[in-house]
């Protein structure tokens, strides 16, 4: 079984911080951005950013797993 690396876990923490833990900072109506109340704009923005961030986690995992599977044991 391939366990996830610390690096990829840290990448995954970014969307959690932005969309969940920091709610106090962005849960407000003003300023409106693109016609949207700020909190709704912020959430939509992060829906769009998250796949980009996760593609970095994907690349980091793929590279590591390919290296492991091609016989470089213990390289993790």
């Amino acid at each position: 079984m391939h366990k996830p690396s610390l690096q990829s876990i840290l990448i995954g923490l970014i969307p959690f911080v932005a969309m969940c833990f920091t709610v106090v900072l962005w849960d407000q109506v003003h300023p409106f951005v693109l016609g949207l109340p700020f909190n709704i704009f912020w959430i939509i923005l992060w829906i769009l950013i998250t796949p980009i961030i996760m593609s970095f986690a994907y690349r980091s995992e793929r590279a590591r797993i390919d290296a492991q599977d091609s016989g470089m044991k213990g390289g993790a």
Partner: protein
């Protein structure tokens, strides 16, 4: 032709065509137990994506989310956050579950508990808890279907009759073809849902306010506190938001049907790619919210917020278009319902009935029993849908509070070699008991925190404590004991 007849004919026509397509697609494969439940592990990226999307975008997203936007306001934002974060979280354990699933031939969530903890009793308890908490989720779909037909018939058909007809169809459809049919019907449903979301999510704010920005401006002027937390509620503030987002994003793949959908993937890389692209599917959710927010000032005073979306659509468009939206809604109830029924039936037959009551059964007999259970489970959910009334989102949150209690057993099962069977068992039972107590005594939220999340924390602590107090067990998932003994990754 009168309005209700037009709307209902369009709904029925679209649902019927979709069902025929689904059954045709499923009918081309010979069905055995594995084929029926996990489609022979043959799905690629696109089909897994559609299957998972089909399960996720339920009538809860369609009617429940707009309903909460209408009646609760700000706290509804949790839905967009948790859906996105659930996929992020899945990146770190679904591929691993697929790996052990393939190695040990798992078909259900309880199989995971059975193989990891080498205990059919623990698996049986897990399957029973899974089935129990699937019921409110299924009840949610039934209630949603009832609302759709009730509104589309302009009140002519009662909700109960509507539920009976629609669920007869779902049960028949599950009976004949299993998971493959559901995946194909999902394709139609997803296109309809996307179309509906874009059309009414943008169209309605323009129709009544001249734009989305104008709609929000009007809403903020009329109700300045509705859009931030706690919105129209007293108890759903920021601590509720954080604990609910964590509970639901962690618990998302603990649903037995979503967990077992993992096994339909061709390889674990499919699941990693999925985790990366799935958050984009959440992008339809804001549009559904816009409809709920628009409805606040256009159709004020509805007693049941869940009816907001359809009521404003009925008031704004011609009856055939209400039919199209109604059909999208009906499919978003029926597809997930089919999957829920399938998962619950397979779980109960394979992980409870056979090991506990009739160990001599063959796979074919289990498959036959599962089909009988399809009818039984549907009837139980129908009973609750008819005889209890609560909002769609509350039903979902109750289900989440329950199924998320599987998390310690799953995560520790994968990543902590010291976890033991008694630890997981005690933690799970404690977690479920805390949920049951807090929900039944109406203490949710508990000191501003989601009761399910509080129970999950207790569950984690108990699991760790009891595991450390009990004797270490052999970890069957460990494929390289020598390496683990040295403590390396």
């Amino acid at each position: 032709m009168d309005n209700s007849l037009i709307a209902l004919s369009v709904i029925f026509g679209i649902v019927l065509v979709s069902s025929i397509v689904g059954m045709y697609a499923g009918g081309r494969y010979k069905m055995n137990l594995e084929q029926w439940t996990v489609a022979g592990r043959g799905f690629g990226l696109i089909l897994v994506w559609l299957l998972m999307a089909g399960e996720i975008y339920t009538t809860f997203a369609f009617l429940g989310a707009s309903g909460w936007a209408y009646s609760r306001g700000g706290p509804t934002l949790y839905i967009m956050a948790y859906l996105t974060l659930a996929y992020v979280f899945s990146f770190y354990f679904l591929p691993q579950i697929w790996e052990v699933g393939k190695k040990f031939g798992m078909q259900t969530q309880s199989d995971f508990f059975h193989k990891r903890y080498n205990s059919k009793n623990l698996a049986a308890v897990a399957s029973l808890i899974g089935v129990i908490f699937i019921i409110p989720y299924l009840q949610l779909q039934l209630t949603g279907l009832g609302i759709i037909v009730e509104v589309a018939s302009f009140g002519a058909i009662s909700r109960v009759t509507a539920m009976l007809v629609a669920f007869g169809l779902v049960a028949a459809f599950v009976f004949v073809s299993g998971v493959r049919a559901v995946a194909w019907i999902s394709v139609i449903k997803d296109f309809l849902m996307l179309f509906a979301a874009f059309f009414i999510g943008i169209g309605l704010p323009y129709m009544y306010y001249g734009g989305i920005g104008e709609m929000f401006t009007a809403l903020v002027n009329a109700k300045p506190t509705h859009l931030t937390m706690p919105g129209a509620t007293k108890v759903m503030g920021h601590s509720w938001y954080i604990s609910t987002v964590l509970l639901t994003s962690f618990g998302f793949y603990m649903w037995p049907h979503l967990f077992s959908a993992t096994f339909t993937a061709k390889n674990n890389n499919t699941l990693r790619k999925n985790a990366v692209i799935m958050p984009l599917y959440t992008i339809t959710m804001p549009l559904i919210f816009f409809v709920g927010f628009t409805a606040i000032l256009v159709v004020p005073g509805l007693a049941n917020g869940d009816m907001a979306l359809l009521t404003i659509v009925r008031q704004s468009y011609s009856p055939w278009f209400l039919g199209v939206i109604g059909a999208a809604g009906a499919l978003t109830a029926m597809v997930p319902a089919a999957i829920l029924i399938l998962a619950a039936a397979a779980l109960f037959a394979k992980n409870f009935y056979r090991p506990m009551i009739s160990p001599g059964m063959t796979d074919d007999q289990v498959a036959r029993l599962a089909k009988v259970l399809v009818v039984v489970i549907t009837l139980v959910a129908l009973y609750f849908a008819i005889y209890s009334a609560t909002t769609l989102v509350n039903l979902l949150l109750l289900g989440y509070a329950g199924v998320t209690q599987f998390l310690p057993g799953v995560l520790f099962g994968l990543y902590w070699k010291r976890v033991t069977k008694p630890g997981v068992f005690t933690g799970l039972v404690t977690g479920i008991s805390v949920v049951a107590y807090l929900v039944l005594t109406k203490q949710d939220p508990f000191f501003g925190i989601n009761a399910g999340f509080f129970a999950l924390c207790v569950n984690f602590i108990v699991t760790v404590a009891v595991s450390l107090m009990t004797k270490a067990e052999v970890n069957p998932f460990n494929d390289n004991p020598a390496e683990e003994a040295k403590g390396s990754a």
